[in-house]
Symmetry: C3
Subunit: 139 residues, 3 copies
């Protein structure tokens, strides 16, 4: 296992803007506070969502779209540099009116309301292609 001790530069609360994209908002927050590394949790609701599932055999993401209002019951992710840009690797658990839960890598989703907590770390994280998983990983 690779690990790193981190020092926190700053802690932030954000209210994600209604109508904007959930992941883009997290990246906008990282941009505003100049966080090249960070860890976040968040919750709220979206008007729709595009969730990705990684096909571990084909090493490709598969997209599933949900064109319906969903609660964001839990969102966990982190900020790192990917090709020089701040990228928010965002996983989320969503739910329908029945209470049924959906989940995965949240590529996109239209914010209805969102509340996020971000810790920004001093030392940048950089994603690089990992040969084993064919994913862009840090450390």
């Amino acid at each position: 296992m690779n690990y790193r001790e981190v020092e926190t530069d700053g802690e932030y609360l954000a209210r994600l803007e209604t109508g904007s994209d959930w992941r883009a908002e997290l990246e906008a927050l990282a941009d505003r506070v100049e966080a090249d590394a960070g860890w976040f949790t968040a919750m709220g609701a979206v008007e729709d969502a595009e969730v990705w599932f990684y096909d571990q055999d084909e090493t490709e993401y598969r997209s599933v779209e949900f064109d319906e209002p969903l609660e964001v019951a839990a969102c966990v992710g982190n900020v790192a540099l990917l090709d020089g840009e701040r990228f928010a690797h965002t996983h989320a658990v969503l739910s329908r009116r029945s209470g049924q839960a959906l989940a995965g890598h949240l590529n996109a989703g239209t914010v209805f309301a969102g509340e996020a907590y971000l810790r920004a770390f001093e030392t940048p994280l950089e994603r690089e292609r990992d040969d084993v998983t064919d994913l862009d990983l840090w450390l």
Copy 2:
């Protein structure tokens, strides 16, 4: 996007009391440590749960009740003042014996066992009615 840098006053671990209400326990913790703003994650199990889904068109919460034991696989939320009282905005992902996941805004649930981590922030958060979503939002 609205955001605020926050300073942490204190960090707390809590064991939620068997038989009490999950959200009330988080609010009791906030009361005990006098946190007018905070962020928490938690996990455990409940004996039952009342989960809310926000109807974005009708701008009303819809309640779904589960009268059965459930794991609390993930719980994310925050503490803010709502009409002068500490309110724990609590989202959670629950699961059944089959592994099936349920999720949403957790209004209530009888604690079977619960473990929580809360960060209390110096500056109070206050919820106010937002005209766009008809929700009580902070910042």
Copy 3:
């Protein structure tokens, strides 16, 4: 409710090793940084998973195994001493290609890729048998 104010000793980011066990990796991280108490959140993907559901009437865990690739949409847990060993109490929300979510106490799962954030606390947490729930609880 029992609670404790905690002081953080260190904060760590970890990349869990492909092919290793998810929970064992979190415990290995706690061992490496000598954390006898800690709180973590994590996300990623596993090649399979063994999820436990606690039967609150029989006070026994029931195991469900999923022998398929799954996203780890959210993982929340903590580190404490159990019989003198560091134990990572780990709950997780997983998802299938369809977006369907599964969740529970994550006993085991083969890491495909994993990203974790751990806060290590100064004062050890110790789990002891609780008579009411027949679980090993801290505080």
